[in-house]
Structures are given as C-alpha cells and as structure tokens.
Amino acid sequence: MKVAGFSRIGLALGVLCLGAGAVAYALHHQSAARLSVPSGQRALAPDFSLPQLSGEPLTLSAYRGKVVLLDFWATWCEPCREEIPHFVELQNKYRAEGLQTIGVSMDDGPQPVRDFYQQFKMNYPVVMGTVKVAEQYGGVLGLPIAILIGRDGHIYAKHMGATDKSVFEGEIVRLLRQNGDSGTRRDVLRSASEDLESDQFVAQNGIVYCDKGESWPANTGSSK
C-alpha cells in the first residue's frame, strides 16, 4: 500500500513534468517562416567575397554548380546553435553530391566564432558577415536565416527562424537532383506541397505563401 501510494505520486509528477516539457518544447520551437520562390521570380544570389576565419577570402560565385546552403548565424543565437549540428550532418551526408554549406557569422568579431567552430566541429567554411552583404540579402534583422541556392546560382528558398532538419534535407535533395536550370513553376508548387503537408500553403498567381501569409519580397537580392 505504501509503495503503491508513493508510486502514484511519482507517476503524477512524471506526467506533470512531461506536460511542462511539451509546453516548453512548443515555446522553444516557434513556427519558422519559409518562403519558396516561384521560378519566374528567382533572383541570382548576390555575389560576395568575404574573409573566412583563416583570413582567406571566400567568393560565393566560385561555388556555382553546387547547391549552397547559406546560413546567417551568430554564436549568441540559441536557435542557430541548435541548427548548426544538423548542418554539419547534412554537409557530411551530401558533400559528395554537391552540397556546400557556408556560414555567415553576424558576430562582432572572429574570436568567439573560432571557439564555436572548434567546439561544434563545423565542417564547412565560415565567413564574417558585413552590413553590406546582409542588406544585399534583404536585411538580416533576426537570426537564423538560411537561404538555399541552386546549382544555377539562383535563390530557391529562404528560411527565417529555426527550421527542422528534415525540411532542409528535403529541399537539398530536390535541388541536388534538379538540373541546372531554374526549374518550372509546376515543379516548385509540387515540391512545396509535397514536403509541407502539415503547413498551410496557398498558391496564388504563381506565388507560394507560407501559413503566415507572407510572400517573397519582389526586391530579393537588392538593398531595401
């Protein structure tokens, strides 16, 4: 009897903690915004040349022909710290097929970035971002922002906020297996609906809207 009574208390506490954990998880994983770019509106990703942690310059256009995952992040950004291990995994998995992840750090200086790079065993180049490059990509006024660039150098998707690895992986695989052109509108709409079954996407006039009702800004690639 005594044991059973205490076990009930333990069970109740466990259920309470699980419930609290579910609430914390929901708060933590706030919905991210995702924007898919219809073929008629895909801008060429603005080129840049920025210094890596080693000091060597990295030029984006040198990676034409690869699928580029361009990640704007910072060491103090908690959602970024959660995404980066996933990017490391994806880079390992799809490097041979042509994936190239590039991190653009929005930290004030390189030292914390170097420490972070070692600690998280990052396996892709990281450059130090600038205001100019941030503005070229529509403004980086919140982190993280991850941009997928196809083999043709055009922007295919933009993710604002922490995003599940499975979403990135689905898009990366499609882009890796796509041919070099910018694809068709039908392919974009079909691919968007395929991997976002739980999201509410509305396709109107060729523009794909995420559930927040936002669309890709028409001036993508140029300063606001």
Binding site: G10, H28, M106, D107, L141, M160, G161
Partner: protein, 155 residues
C-alpha cells in the same frame, strides 16, 4: 512512510527533470508583463506631440543596429556580454532614477533573446523605476521594420 528503492528512483528522476525544465525557461520570458511595452505603443509615443520621449537603448548585437534601428536609439552593445552590460550601466549612471528608459534587442525570438533580461535586471538593480522592455516577438525585422514603423537604416 517507508520509501521503496524504485520509488526513490522515480522521485529523483522527476525532480531532476522538473529542475531541468525550470532552467530551460528562457530568460526573456521571465520578464514581468508590467515591464513590457508593445511596438504599437512605443510608435504612438514616438509619433505623439508630447515632448517627453523615452531614452531608447539598443542592447542587442551591433550588426543588427547597424542595419536598422529605432530613430534616436543609442547603441550600447549586447547586454548578455559583460562589457555591454558595463557600458549600459555607465551610460545611465548619472540619470535621474525616474527617467523613462526603453530597452530593446530583436535579435531572436523573444524566448531566445539573451540580452533584454540582463539589461532589465541591471537597470532595476540600479533603482530605475520607469524602465520598459520593448516586446519583440520574433525579431526586429518582422515585428518592427516590416510593420512600417519608424526606422533608421545604417548607423
């Protein structure tokens, strides 16, 4: 009441789990609602004809401030950094303790912001009585700039 070995394990595990969840709660979310000001309310203040305007201080990252910030906002530096916090304290040290101050960041979703709570705590620790934290739910771009609120581009 005697406690069996298994029950001890259950109690220990749930206690540890509860403590971990408590620590998991992000700092910004612990700021009292009475300390907050919405973007809409701040915009109304900025656009009003009343002369008294708050001292607005950006306690977020420089790269964010350099791209866009609230008109009149001063840049102090990330309050999650000890240097930034020191600069904040130095900036306000000579001010009357009833000075109306608004602090903001906007780097990340509210529950993940590492800067606003330390700044709010520091100012209240210095006995400032009229401090408000700008509540930015997602980020400065989404909740301020994209709303068309007054913005200065560049530094």
């Amino acid at each position: 009441m005697t406690i069996s070995g298994n029950s001890k394990v259950i109690l220990a595990m749930t206690t540890i789990f509860a403590i971990a969840l408590g620590a998991y709660a992000y700092q910004a979310s612990l700021i009292s609602d009475s300390h907050l000001i919405s973007p809409e309310d701040l915009v109304k203040m900025l656009q009003s004809s009343k002369p008294a305007k708050p001292l607005i201080i950006s306690v977020g990252p420089h790269m964010l401030y350099a791209q866009a910030h609230i008109p009149g906002a001063e840049y102090i530096g990330p309050a999650s950094d000890s240097n930034g916090l020191q600069r904040l304290q130095t900036r306000v040290e000579s001010l009357p303790r009833n000075k109306f101050i608004v602090i903001y960041c906007g780097c990340c979703p509210w529950n993940h912001c590492p800067n606003v709570k330390p700044a709010d705590d520091a100012l209240r620790g210095m006995r400032f009585t009229n401090v408000r934290v700008l509540y930015i739910a997602q980020n400065f771009g989404t909740n301020w700039v994209d709303k068309g609120y007054p913005t200065i581009r560049g530094e």
